[in-house]
């Protein structure tokens, strides 16, 4: 704690001045948002992400499938909030203001998914991705693009956003 503030500021300046690594090369990298569906960490392509926000003002709806937890007013726009845990048949916990929402959008389809936490954005090389584990549930495997070497599960946002299961329920 007793660090010299001058030294700290200098270090930060260096870090900011540093050029980002030229890793994207032949557009084989994608930027993802890391999020937690405990106990696993997941990732999703930022190009489908509108924004992230804390879970609040959630209104639950009657007569909806279990994976639809409710609707939310996002600056005057009503979007539905899905719980991927119930969608993927994962063990669930109660929801609170500590939960975060990632708003996804693809063409006309827009909805939010509930996460336990959001850590940060990062870039992932697509070559490093490996096939999803076969033990995963059948319904889940269709929406998984791959798993990084650090165990981060990359969701297929397009598949999710265009999924018939969701659309039918959207009716």
């Amino acid at each position: 704690m007793a660090r010299d503030p001058r030294e700290l500021l200098q270090k930060r300046a260096h870090m900011i001045a540093r050029r980002p690594a030229e890793t994207e090369g032949a557009s084989n990298t994608i930027m993802v948002v890391e999020f937690l569906l405990s106990p696993e960490w997941y990732a999703i392509d930022t190009s489908f992400v509108t924004e992230v926000l804390p879970l609040g003002n959630l209104t639950s709806l009657p007569g909806t499938p279990p994976f639809v937890v409710g609707i939310m007013n996002l600056r005057g726009k009503i979007i539905s909030i899905l719980n991927l845990k119930s969608f993927f048949n994962l063990p669930q916990k109660g929801l609170s203001a500590q939960n975060r929402v990632i708003v996804l959008k693809h063409q006309a389809m827009e909805f939010g998914i509930v996460t336990d936490d959001i850590s940060s954005t990062r870039t992932i090389k697509l070559e490093t991705l490996s096939k999803p584990p076969t033990s995963l549930h059948d319904t889940g495997s269709a929406y998984i693009q791959g798993v990084t070497n650090k165990g981060l599960i990359l969701l297929n946002a397009e598949a999710l956003l265009t999924s018939n299961a969701i659309i039918i329920n959207q009716k």
Binding site: I16, M31, V33, T46, V49, E51, L53, P54, S120, T121
Partner: protein, 497 residues
Amino acid sequence: MKSSIRTSSRLKLIIGFVLILLSIISIQVINFIGIERIKKSQTLLVSSFQTSQSLLSLRNEENRIRALTLEMIITRDQEERDAHIMEIRQRIGLVDEAIVTIQKHLADDREASDKFGEIMNLLKTFRSNREKQLILINQGKTDQALDFALTVQNPFYESIQSKMSVLEQILSEQNETIRGQNEALTTRIVTFLGILGSIIILISLAFIIWTFRLLHNLSLEIKTGVNILGTSAAEILTTVNEVSTGATETATAVSETTTTIEEIRQTALLATQRAQAVLESSRKASEAAENGKESVQQTIEGMDRINQQMNLIAESVVKLSEQNRSIGEITASVNDIADQSNLLAVNAAIEAAKAGEQGRGFAVVAQEIRSLAEQSKQATNQVKEILTEIQKAVNMAVMATEQGSKAVDQGNKLSRQSGEMIDILAESVNDAVQSVIQISTASQQQMAGMDQIVPAMENIKQASEQNVVGTRQTQNAAQTLNELGQNLKKIILKYNV
């Protein structure tokens, strides 16, 4: 018991003698009464006999007078007549005498006197008729007189004669009965006296036997008594000797007691001095107790002050705890802000990514904001940990204050208890002082008593010396007693009853 036996024996003796005496007296009395009764019946018999005699003479005289009267009628001779008159007059006097005698004797006998009264009535008429006859004779009317005698006087005379014989019969019967009664009485008295005499003889015999046995028993008892007396005298002699030695022992014991009393006196003196010393130290203890009481009071006050301080500390600790909570709340809001900053950074990064190459610099800024948010979150976490530590410390402080408070209470209680103890101690000391005073007076009284005992012991000594002298006299007396016993024995042997 012995005396009662003696009196009873004496009583028996007296009763026996009195019984015999009474028997003799009763015999005498019965004798006297019998004799009296025999005498009485004898007189009765005599009187009855006299009556009979008088009656006989009456009859004789009347008979003679009648014969004379008849002779006078027959004879013519005047001289003879005069002689006859004379004789008649004489005999009438005799008849009167006999009548008087009979009347006197028959006064008690009603039947006989009634009979005699009838006879007397007839006789009166007969006599008056005779006077008339005599007058007739004197006048010379002899025929007339004879006729009168034959017709009137003769039946009269016959009737008188027959009544007289009846009376005689009665009298002789009475005489007979009296005689019979007399004889029966005599026999009765004789029999009664014989029975009474034999009873008296029996009683006397029994009494004599009893007396003899009593005397025999008495002599036996006296014999044994004398023997006992002899042994008792010997025992008394030995006892007297023992008493004599006892008296000597008493003398030595008295002198020992005197020395012991002197020792006790010394002890009592010592006790008095000790009691004085104890009194002094008791007073000191009392003062110490008083001081202790004051100290305890001060301790209690000090404890009260400590209690107040502890209360202040507790209040401060509570305030500290509240402030800690406020800090925690602030830290929580800082944490929230950091979280939101993080989200904002992520959003910024997403926006930057969407902006493509133009957004690259913004992405770096967003990254930096994110890391700042991360750091502030870590810092808040550290603060949280520190706050938790502080809270623990505060809790411990609260507990410590509570314990302190309790300890103070305990101390207070203990102080009060010690105060009470000291009070009790002071009371005990006061009691001890009272006791010591009592002991002191008691030992002084003891000393006074000892002073009185010394002359008493002297008196005992003199008494025991007198005892020795008395014992000598007793010895002599016992000797005499022994000799007396021997003499008695001889006497008993001599009068071997």
